[in-house]
Symmetry: D2
Subunit: 142 residues, 4 copies
């Protein structure tokens, strides 16, 4: 990333995301971006719920990984790439239909390893889940 | 679940899954089922890969949660439901395009809590990721 | 716990802890306590460091589990007990000798499950590690 | 490590461990060692149990981190050091007094990251807990 303001950062990330079919398919969209902090949203519909009518844990995990990964992406040098080493989800409330937001932040970015967290939040501002993630950060090969 | 053989179990799970749009949307299908062990597969295509062309960590997490959740489902009494409390992923190799398999197993099922694990494996049998999950197991409300 | 003020809470926890040899052996002491928030400290010495002279990951994990468990303890009804279901540590900086503090907080306490987090912090206020924990909360058997 | 047989490996690890006060203090001793697999034991006494008379979760986490870390140590090149990035514990049964064994194995060792697991087992061979750990593996600085 080469953006120098938050607005440019948001535009740059949006351009990158619109280039991958994953975002169209998953329905995830960017809401805001600043250095080390990225928020995404997803409008939950019938595709995202499990047999019990609740949002699938994997859907929330996907949102968390996206939000944390992008937060790390905005916090490292432009010529570096990040790879998820591990991630964890703690689900604290059943997630209902409606709009869900994942707010990711890079908590610590070291020379080789970054650690990030995310909050998954429903439309009423209630915490649905907390996520943690570890990322390997390495220079991109030419 | 009320099945008494593995074949009946597989049929019963397939019926349940075909009733939820999530499975059609995600592309996940059941491969095998036995008590406490369920394997699912996903044919990876361009929708499932990230900006770097590798399978999205969230896609693998979704597969793991499905495989572990179904494995727990087959191991508890018919009148009980399971809810994911937490789950974790450890990614050990970048996941390529092609068919990926998630083999879930319920390692321990207690009165209130179940613990499960899953292996994510590529077409050549290589371990891509290991997953762990904790499930709350409670009597279904009438 | 039956305390009605934070000072009484701290006294009550100190009494309980002084009754178990674990605290004398581990060297852990209580620093502060409020509802859902407990901070403990440990003066690191040569017993707590690994082959490389850094504080052993298990020592920090022990501090985290104590701080989170006590935070949960102060947040549940007096007649309930908590049991650790799972816990995780993310180490972000090597921990030096000196005084280390673990600040635990109960993030969410439900009817059966509680979720807590802890920060491990060195004498200069730097984050050494972040911890997460899930606790089963059940009525104590008579 | 420079050992070429399992017996030499066990001797070499024992020498290293006996040089650190941590092992005398914690009571942990080595049982067996092979490439990528190390088992340690601890005789549980009153120092290791919590307010409820059960083995402290942090004690089991310490055993797990030691067993996994040593397993990684035996699997990497002699001139490399390992540092714990993150670790997780899943507790499946309350741990009683008596002898507890932690069997660690390095599941995957890459160029920079290693992933390990451990089983915590009581004297009757029952699984008490499962552990996972991620380790940074880097060349030792001269």
């Amino acid at each position: 990333l080469t953006a120098s303001t938050d607005d440019e950062l948001l535009d740059e990330l949006r351009d990158k995301l619109s280039a991958t079919p994953f975002y169209g398919w998953s329905g995830i969209s960017l809401e805001s971006a600043a250095r080390a902090e990225v928020t995404i949203t997803l409008e939950i519909d019938e595709r995202h719920v499990n047999l019990q009518g609740l949002v699938h844990g994997g859907v929330l995990a996907t949102m968390a990984d996206v939000a944390m990964g992008l937060a790390v992406r905005t916090a490292v040098e432009p010529d570096r790439r990040h790879v998820t080493i591990e991630m964890g989800m703690h689900y604290v409330r059943p997630a209902p239909r409606g709009r869900i937001r994942a707010a990711g932040r890079a908590v610590h970015v070291g020379g080789q390893i970054a650690y990030a967290e995310a909050d998954l939040i429903d439309g009423a501002g209630r915490l649905l889940a907390r996520a943690t993630g570890t990322y390997s950060v390495a220079r991109e090969r030419a």
